[in-house]
Amino acid sequence: MTRRSAHASTNQMLERTRDMGLKTIFDRYDAQQPQCGFGMQGVCCQLCSHGPCRITPKSPRAICGATADTIVARNFLKLEVHGAAAYSHHLEEVAKTLKATAEGKTPFTIGDEGKLKEVCKAVGIKGNSTKELAIALSDVILNELRKGSDDPLALVKIFAPKTRLEAWEKLGLIPGGVHSEIRDALTKTMSNITTDPVDLLLTTLRLAIATGYMGLVGTITLQDILLGTPQISEANADLGEIDPKKVNILAHGHVPLMATAVLQAAQTPEMIKLAKAAGAEGIDVLGSMCTGQELLQRSGHSAKGMGAQMGNWLAQEYIVATGAIDLVMMDMNCSIPGLKEVADRFHTELVSVDSILRMAGVDKNVDYAPEKAAEQAKELITMAIETYKKRGNDIVIPKNKAKGVVGFGVESILGALGGSLDPLLDVIKKGLIKGAVAVVGCTNNRNGHDSAGLQLMEELIKKDILVISAGCMSSAAQIEGMQDPVSAAKAGPGLRAVCEKLSIPPVLSFGSCVDIGRIGVLVTALADALNVDPSQLPVAASAPEYLEQKAVADGVFAVAFGLLTHLGPVPPVTGSPLVTQILTQDVEGLTGGKVLVELDMVKAADAIEAHIMTKRQGLGI
């Protein structure tokens, strides 16, 4: 049974690739069926040479004696470690760039001095100039990444709600330096070290808190300081926005540093002249995935001139299959191995711009270095122009286009509401808006490429529940017009009235997946304003199409933060009744949050609404 995308443009390109005999992600998904039930349940262990061991009715223990509970919890923690590591890599790149920028060695300028001063004050950094503050803050962050696990993270102490700190301290969950936490977690998950499933799960909570306050909140804070805090602005999306007369560069991945440098350089007369000499009308930098979202929400300042957002993770092969993309600059994660096969069918050049990424078959790597970014940007654009010259006539661009409003966050919402969250709290108290749900994270084939995510968003807004998007779910909503203020018509009467009054859509884009940190900041601000714990708020999180390891870290962070966290795909834990019970029930007694697994999005929306109504009752509103 072939699953389809929720987007017409993706489906059109899927048909095109099939007509060409090209196998893409939907075909590969089908070819992988049936998938092994032991892996899906998390009870397959491949750690030692005795393995692989599977826990089955015939063999309830692995050769070493490990139970399903141990194997499932250990596998789950290992997944999260990957996510935590990738987020720290992102933060490290941003911190190094901020420092180099302060030293005048990059093409960037500090984008938000106000936030720099505010954060430095909170962290206790003193300095006389922007330069001094930015260098000192970068050093503090780099040190926080590297310090020991016995040295509590400053950012947790500073930014977490007090009630959370109390809950976490009681459980021994205040983490130390992220790299050290990763080391400890990896050591614990080696064969024959930690086999207590409860300790392993507590470690996932601890590592998630480290990831939440460094990889998420730390990264967005430094990115805002460096590139500017997002502002509410208009955005265009979908494949119909591709201009075949331009040299097209796809900014693809998560770390928007090289992409910003390329976007800025692409607008210089020198580069435009070069493009025109090659026969093009100009240069477009198009957005893909989270790098695209980062540019989109800063198109008012550091990312001026940004082209449209093309799509999310699952769309990457189909964007290239238009035949009109000259260069894909791939940063950090989420570039799939299959992309190379599609790129080779066309003229498209794939280039890694992060030393961490080496794709099989790709031999061009321009590893981002803050001090060289200006030159590297020109090099990439020149490569794109050279590739443009080889572009053939086999181009099909779907007609689909969408527009919307992006750039939401605590600061831009405060700006729109006149400096206070009270108007938002008032409409929640009055019940016009029952609550808010962060619909975030990845997209996948299992859930029909955004089909589950979009269905959940529609069900929630019908119930007068405001949706906040981040990551791949932002693109999903943009392409289907859910971030266009006119989509308020799809919302229930209360939410619709609020949206129409403020000219905002019922699905607010908070940006990329790392911007889940931005949602954490908003929830913290709401909790502070009401003087309650986040777990008491009428809010929830959902990753209806979660896919990879960063999302595991995000999801566990939401649980640690005290939120009901809905997941669409069943996480690989069901082989352990104990782990399943802890994640879906018992953890609520510890953190106030828990996992809700529900594959039917109508039922999921009902369950989330019931949760929100209980929380409203608890607050007496």
Partner: protein, 164 residues
């Protein structure tokens, strides 16, 4: 009483252990890694039907359509064991694929062997007390026993469900 491979698809979780065990059982070393590396085909398959894994293999029919269709005489049903096979039967497969077309279950395939294309199918694991696929199944989806015993177990389950 002759034994047969019986399938309870509801217990299959798609782990494909049976396919690896089948390939391994059909090479001299019996080593699963070598079987995977050399591409030894599996004679049992598992398909995803609306997301549910379903194993399918030769039923060793009493009046096999494949045997009737085989012009070379390679495909034969052994009267004693009841197994239907086309290897080491005294006649060589000539690769006409009549058996492939005739089989109502589609469980006969093509493979390359010693430079020729020949038909390949389940041989019932002649020489083993339990077929490799059944032995390897961790879920009890594949069982090996007299048909009447299987039927009786199923009857008892059905009977129990009447009063449950």
């Amino acid at each position: 009483m002759r034994k047969e491979v019986m399938i309870d698809a509801s217990k299959c979780n798609g782990c494909l252990s049976c396919t690896v065990a089948c390939s391994a059982a059909h090479i001299p070393s019996g080593d699963p890694l070598e079987a995977l590396l050399t591409g030894e085909p599996s004679r049992i398959a598992v398909y995803s039907v609306h997301g549910k894994a379903v194993p399918i293999t030769c039923r060793h029919c009493d009046e096999p359509a494949c045997v009737n269709a085989c012009m070379a005489g390679a495909m034969q049903k052994n009267a004693e064991s009841g197994r239907v096979k086309n290897e080491n039967t005294g006649h060589d497969c000539i690769g006409c694929w009549m058996c492939v077309m005739a089989c109502p279950y589609g469980v006969i395939n093509q493979r390359e062997k010693e430079g020729r294309s020949v038909a390949v199918k389940c041989d019932g694991c002649v020489g083993r007390s339990v077929p490799a696929c059944v032995e390897s199944c961790p879920n009890g989806a594949l069982t090996y026993g007299p048909v009447n015993e299987y039927a009786e177990t199923k009857q008892r389950q059905a009977a129990a469900s009447q009063v449950a």
